[in-house]
Each structure stands twice: as structure tokens, then as C-alpha cells.
């Protein structure tokens, strides 16, 4: 079973599709969770998810915006999608009928 931060990272990477990399995922996680996300937590989580086979990563091309530094690109694997779906289903089931259900601002 995924942890909630792992789920946030997987969801952000899936949403960003071909443009999923460190900084973009961090912004997406902060947007969704509405709280700060540290680079340390993000990169160690990406490593952990990659070891579990839920993500694949590779070094992309350098860009001028990043001062000529390469991005670490991220892609969710089929196993990662299944795990994320399982986590989401569990959360929805667990929340069913509770007072805070569907109170998304």
C-alpha cells in the first residue's frame, strides 16, 4: 500500500505526463496538497517509488531556464498506476459516508 505522499507524487507525475520532473512535480504536489514540499522529501520518495517499480526515471536534456542543467524525468509505470488506483479506491471507500466527504474547496 502506498503512503499518502507517495500517492501525491505519483498523481503529480501522472498529471504532468511527458513533462514530469523534479521541480514540476514539486509545484504540482504543493498545489494539490496546499502545503510546502521539500526537495529532500520529493527526491527520496521518487527513489523509493522507482525501487518499488512504480516509477521510471532518466536524465533529460539540459535547458537554459535551468542554467544548462538536465532534468530528472519521471514516468509512472503500469504497476504505479495500479497502486495509485488501489490507494485512491481505498481512500474513497474509507471516506464513504463521513462528514468531510466531498468537501473539496
Amino acid at each position: 500500500m502506498l503512503g499518502e505522499f507517495e500517492y501525491l507524487v505519483l498523481s503529480a507525475a501522472a498529471r504532468l505526463e511527458g513533462d514530469a520532473y523534479g521541480a514540476a512535480i514539486l509545484k504540482e504536489v504543493e498545489r494539490a496538497a496546499r502545503q510546502r514540499c521539500s526537495i529532500g522529501a520529493l527526491y527520496t520518495t521518487i527513489d523509493r517509488l522507482e525501487k518499488k517499480g512504480l516509477l521510471t526515471t532518466w536524465m533529460g536534456d539540459p535547458t537554459a531556464l535551468r542554467g544548462g542543467r538536465a532534468k530528472r524525468m519521471v514516468k509512472v509505470t503500469a504497476k504505479g498506476s495500479r497502486e495509485a488506483a488501489a490507494f485512491y479506491t481505498a481512500v474513497v471507500r474509507a471516506s464513504d459516508g463521513l462528514a468531510w466527504q466531498l468537501r473539496i474547496p
Binding site: I39, G40, R69
Partner: protein, 289 residues
């Protein structure tokens, strides 16, 4: 302040693997985070990486079997030899007289003093350099943390002690000067121990393994120089480690004529990193062929 924080972040980033460093540096540039947050984030990543790296037995082997024992020996040896070199410096530099060149015996003594110091400099540098390579080869990711602990012990290992040479009132002319008592050991430790060890770590972390022929030549050179310094490592432990408050050696039991055979193994111990480097060079060579 901004520049100082940026420098700290940059320094911390250097401890990461090259590909991760590049990705994180790029992210920081793109996100344009406030410097304090950038430092906090990078520090968080470095700490997490270090915690993960220290789960590897190689990291503990590098620290406990190589770095700390070597650091203790370097702490003693560098001060012992620095105080020995102080006599030569005091005699031949501070009190130079042409009479030192008059007779063959005087010239011989001068040549012997210079040769002894040169051998000691060379062997300290090579022991420290090969030690640095061995540490980084055993655990590259923890090499910088290990180096910091190594450096701390090189300086702190002799705290509260002095050398027999300094305790001897007959040498007060030399050691009343802080330059010889404290300054010279500091210089020895920085330039003959820490700097070569640092370069050894950088060599192992950034460049390919040493070629087999170079590794064997290096081990042979270290073994030869170690044999030339003879029982000096033993002497550094016995006479270079004297109580400050009482006139006696730290290892009283050894000097009271009890079993001192473990000290005879010290020169062999100092050559082990060079032997490891040569063995590793041979192994890499076999793997590549």
C-alpha cells in the same frame, strides 16, 4: 547573506551524486526558492542520503577500520615528526652558520636531517593519499562525512598530551616558541595529512581506478618508504604521546617492558591502504580484460 547561503547550498550539493546534483541544482534555479529555503531543502536531502548511505556496511568499514585508526596514528605521527623537524629547523634555519658545511661530519648530519625529513614528508603524504582513496573506494557516498570525522580526530587525537621532546627542559630553547610547539604540527597535519587525504578522496570519487602497474608501483613505494621510517610509528605512540601534567607516557604499560609486539604491526597497518589500492587496481584490470 544571500551569497553566503547560496555558497552553503552549493557546498552541500557537492556531497550528492553528480547526476542528482545536476537535477537538484537545475530545480533550485528553476524554482528560484529563497536562499534559506534552498539551504534547508538541500540539507534535508543530504541528511536523508547520508542516513541511507550509512546503512551500507562499507561505510562503517571505511570509518572504523580505515579512517579512525589512521587518523589516530596521523595525529601522533604528525606531531612527533613535526617536533623532530623543529630541531632541524631551529638548528639549520634559525641558527644557521657556515660551520655546518665545514667538515664532512657536519655536512653528513645536515644531509641526514634533510633526507629524514623528506622521507617523513613523502611517507605521510602517501599514507594519507592512499588512505583517502581507500575510504572513498569503500564508501563513496559517505566519504566526505568520514573525512570530517577523520580531520577532527587528526587534530583532537592528541588533546591533553604532548611529546617527550617538549617535556624535556633541555629543549626549551626550541619549544618555547609556539611556532615549533604548535605551529609546525598544525602545518604537518593540514598539508601532509588532510590535504593529501582530501585529494585521495577526490581522486577515487571522480576518476577511474588507478592502473594496475601504477597501483603496484604505489604499493611498492609506500612499502619502501615505510621500511625507511622503521620503528618511528612505534616511537610516535610511545614517546610522542606524553602526559601534559605528569612526566610519563600515555601508554605506561608498554614502556614498563610489557608486551609491545602489537606496536610492531603499526608500519604494516599504515601500508594497508596502499596494498588495498593496488589490489583494487588489479581487480579492476582483471574485470576489464
Amino acid at each position: 547573506m544571500r551569497r553566503a547561503l547560496a555558497s552553503i547550498a552549493h557546498l552541500l550539493l557537492r556531497t550528492l551524486d553528480p547526476s542528482e546534483r545536476e537535477a537538484v541544482e537545475g530545480d533550485l534555479r528553476e524554482l528560484d526558492l529563497p536562499p534559506a529555503r534552498a539551504v534547508r531543502d538541500v540539507l534535508g536531502l543530504v541528511v536523508r542520503r547520508q542516513i541511507a548511505a550509512w546503512r551500507d556496511p562499507g561505510a562503517w568499514a571505511a570509518l572504523l577500520i580505515v579512517a579512525l585508526p589512521l587518523a589516530m596514528m596521523f595525529s601522533l605521527l604528525s606531531r612527533h615528526w613535526a617536533h623532530a623537524a623543529a630541531f632541524s629547523a631551529w638548528s639549520y634555519i634559525e641558527n644557521w652558520t657556515p660551520a655546518y658545511l665545514d667538515s664532512p661530519a657536519a655536512r653528513g648530519e645536515l644531509i641526514a636531517a634533510v633526507t629524514t625529513s623528506a622521507i617523513q614528508f613523502a611517507v605521510l603524504i602517501l599514507w594519507a593519499w592512499t588512505g583517502g582513496i581507500a575510504v572513498a573506494s569503500l564508501s563513496r557516498r559517505t566519504a566526505w562525512t568520514t573525512f570530517l570525522l577523520f580531520a577532527a580526530l587528526v587534530f583532537a587525537g592528541t588533546t591533553g598530551t604532548t611529546t617527550l621532546a617538549v617535556r624535556n627542559p633541555a629543549n626549551s630553547a626550541v619549544f618555547s616558541a609556539a611556532l615549533y610547539r604548535v605551529g609546525l604540527p598544525f602545518v604537518f597535519r593540514v598539508f601532509l595529512v588532510l590535504l593529501p587525504a582530501l585529494l585521495g578522496i577526490r581522486r577515487a570519487a571522480r576518476e577511474p581506478a588507478i592502473a594496475r602497474a601504477h597501483g603496484i608501483a604505489l604499493a611498492a613505494a609506500v612499502a619502501l618508504l615505510t621500511s625507511l621510517v622503521g620503528r618511528s610509528p612505534q616511537g610516535a605512540v610511545l614517546y610522542g604521546w606524553w602526559h601534559v601534567s605528569s612526566d610519563g607516557p600515555v601508554l605506561v604499560a608498554f614502556t614498563q617492558g610489557r608486551d609491545i609486539w602489537p606496536l610492531r604491526l603499526l608500519p604494516i597497518g599504515m601500508t594497508l591502504p596502499a596494498i588495498y589500492v593496488a589490489w583494487q587496481a588489479g581487480r579492476r584490470s582483471r574485470e576489464q580484460s
